[in-house]
Amino acid sequence: MLKLLGFEFRRIFKSIFFWIIAGFSVIWPVLTAVLYRALITLDLSDGIKFGPVRLGTDEIQYLTWMIAVAFITELPKFIALFTCLHIGRDYSDGIIRNKIISGHSRIAIYGSYIVTQMVATICLCVIYIASALFGVAVSGIGVDLNGGEMFARFATAIVVFLVMTVSFTVLAVIFRRRALPLILSILIALSSNAVASVIGYFNTPGKACDGYLEVRNENYEELVELGYLDDDTADELIEKNDKDAYMGIGWKIFHPVYVVSPFGFEGDYQAGGVTSLISNSIEYQKELDFSNHFITQSFMLDDMAQVTPQQYRKIDSMQISYDELNWIYIGKSVAWMTVIAAYGFVVFRKKNMF
């Protein structure tokens, strides 16, 4: 296995394409940071001018996170291409056959591909994050890593990303021809953002909704007591804006997918940042708060109960700490990687080599 790892690492680090992606990972986040800075300081009141950067802690933190974690949306297409071309060449040039003939076991060959592709992905992600942090620092936006806590989130993001890398590797290994895994991997890479957006939208726990409705109903009772609403209208509103109205059929379908898959990562961590920005409260810096969903839904449903941020905070299931969330995503991602890799090996183990 070590010999094969040496073999694969040599190939990867001698690959021009790998260094092109590494170059992109250096340049793109810096460019993004510079463009963000230009956008937020653009002053068109008297021609085109750029003013000084005036950002609060939450905004700096949010931008630091958003620009650095963008590797999860920017790199998959490149990793998909790289993995499929890299392993595909081993098929087309007969190198996998050569490794088997040489006496390497199939599990060692398979394992070496998985490990080296994962390490290559980690390297590229780390380069991207480092460049992003450099970019936000030199562009004037500033760096705020939430006291170092953000590094744990970055690590979680990398683990989530590795699910895709393992999927690309498995596709490249189980299909002998290069075109099919390439097309499938690119499709996965390109659709992953859309899928993550859809799945991430349905992240709200059912319990949080129950808690919200309880508080909301109490608010209605108070409104009735204060004479702002009559009983019938309140009952009508409570009946109309029930759990189904807040969660809907989409939630029933996609929430289970969210629970078992790592797809909701972007939605969750972005929602956390947005809540933090909206509330401008330091309380949200270490946790994801699902109240954002209820705030927007309340406007759409014409729910007049006006639940306050303080009331949201009293609902336990409405928040989850990033520490806990990180472990949940790491756990889910490792489980998925294991399942996908195991499936790939079952296919590869019995594959006839021509």
Binding site: D93, R97, S102, G103, F354
Partner: protein, 302 residues
């Protein structure tokens, strides 16, 4: 794992199915240590399939392959099945470096020695993708022999080569067998070439080995058969037999067939003395191809 045996590979009743198609049907044969073992057969007879099975690329549906050496030790089996396994975007040397890493060998001067051995010592920075077919085959052989293998499995190594390329590969294989003691299992369509190389043959037909034979035995079985056309066959046959030949008269064709090698002048003089005239002499050498056709019937399509 059997070691210290007189065979390098023993194939026992190996069957290989691809769906409903049975490529190998209880195939059995034994490859002696130090031999150059030629597999002869038509297209689709099962030569490539059994080579894939022996080299571990495919698992047999049933049956076993015994190895007379530690076949799990890295580099102990070298193979060139159909196409050489080389990175087309790398140089010959870099390909060998990868193979050395693959086998856990120390990267040293032996890489250059191996390249010299196969006649690719002067390819420099030329990428393998730009090599001629013969050069690619030789690089493939250099890769396959990097770990000093006990056995080299070569499927059609001279296919598509020009005459000079064929001679180079033939000389290389003989050198490997003689100088390094590598057992070689080889298949080729070019039976005349195979007959110049192999010390043992297995004739494959319909997924089975129909005959295993040593090269010397093949010569004995075939050899030279000469047709004598004579007006006095009854007088000629004893003369030929007296000269050590095995002569028979076929009355249906009117030809005397004599098996064996002889001095023509001596035979003509003796026949003259015995009163038998010889009108025409047609020598027919039974080569590998003729033997194959006789064995499996029909046209040769090995």
């Amino acid at each position: 794992m059997a070691e210290n045996t007189d065979f390098i590979i023993k194939v026992n009743e190996v069957t290989k199915d691809y769906g409903k198609f049975q490529a190998l049907k209880s195939m059995s044969f034994t490859v002696p240590k130090g031999s150059i073992y030629g597999l002869v057969g038509r297209n689709g007879a099962g030569k490539t399939t059994i080579m894939r099975v022996i080299s571990g690329l495919q698992k047999p549906t049933s049956g076993t392959v015994e190895y007379g050496f530690d076949h799990k030790k890295l580099g102990n089996v070298g193979a060139l099945v159909e196409l050489p396994s080389i990175y087309s975007n790398q140089t010959a040397r870099e390909n060998l470096v990868y193979q050395y890493i693959n086998l856990g060998l120390k990267i040293d001067g032996s890489i250059e020695e191996n390249l010299q051995f196969v006649g690719l010592g002067n390819t420099g920075s030329k990428k393998a993708g730009k090599f001629s077919l013969g050069m690619r085959q030789r690089l493939g052989i250099a890769m396959a022999m990097s770990g000093n293998p006990e056995v080299l499995i070569l499927d059609e190594p001279i296919n598509g080569l020009d005459p000079q390329g064929i001679i180079l590969i033939r000389d290389l294989l003989i050198k490997l067998n003689k100088e390094r003691g590598v057992t070689i299992i080889i298949s080729s369509h070019i039976l005349s070439e195979l007959s110049k190389l192999a010390t043992d043959f297995a004739f494959v037909e319909g997924g089975r080995v129909v005959k295993e034979i040593k090269a010397e035995a093949l010569e004995d079985a075939g050899g030279l058969v000469t047709e004598f056309y004579s007006a006095n066959p009854d007088k000629l046959v004893p003369v030929l037999n007296a000269k050590g030949l095995t002569a028979t008269y076929d009355s249906s064709t009117g030809v005397v067939y004599a098996k064996g090698y002889f001095n023509l002048t001596n035979v003509v003089l003796a026949a003259n003395e015995a009163g038998a005239n010889i009108a025409r002499v047609v020598p027919r050498e039974t080569d590998l191809e003729t033997y194959f056709v006789k064995l499996v019937g029909g046209e040769s399509n090995a």
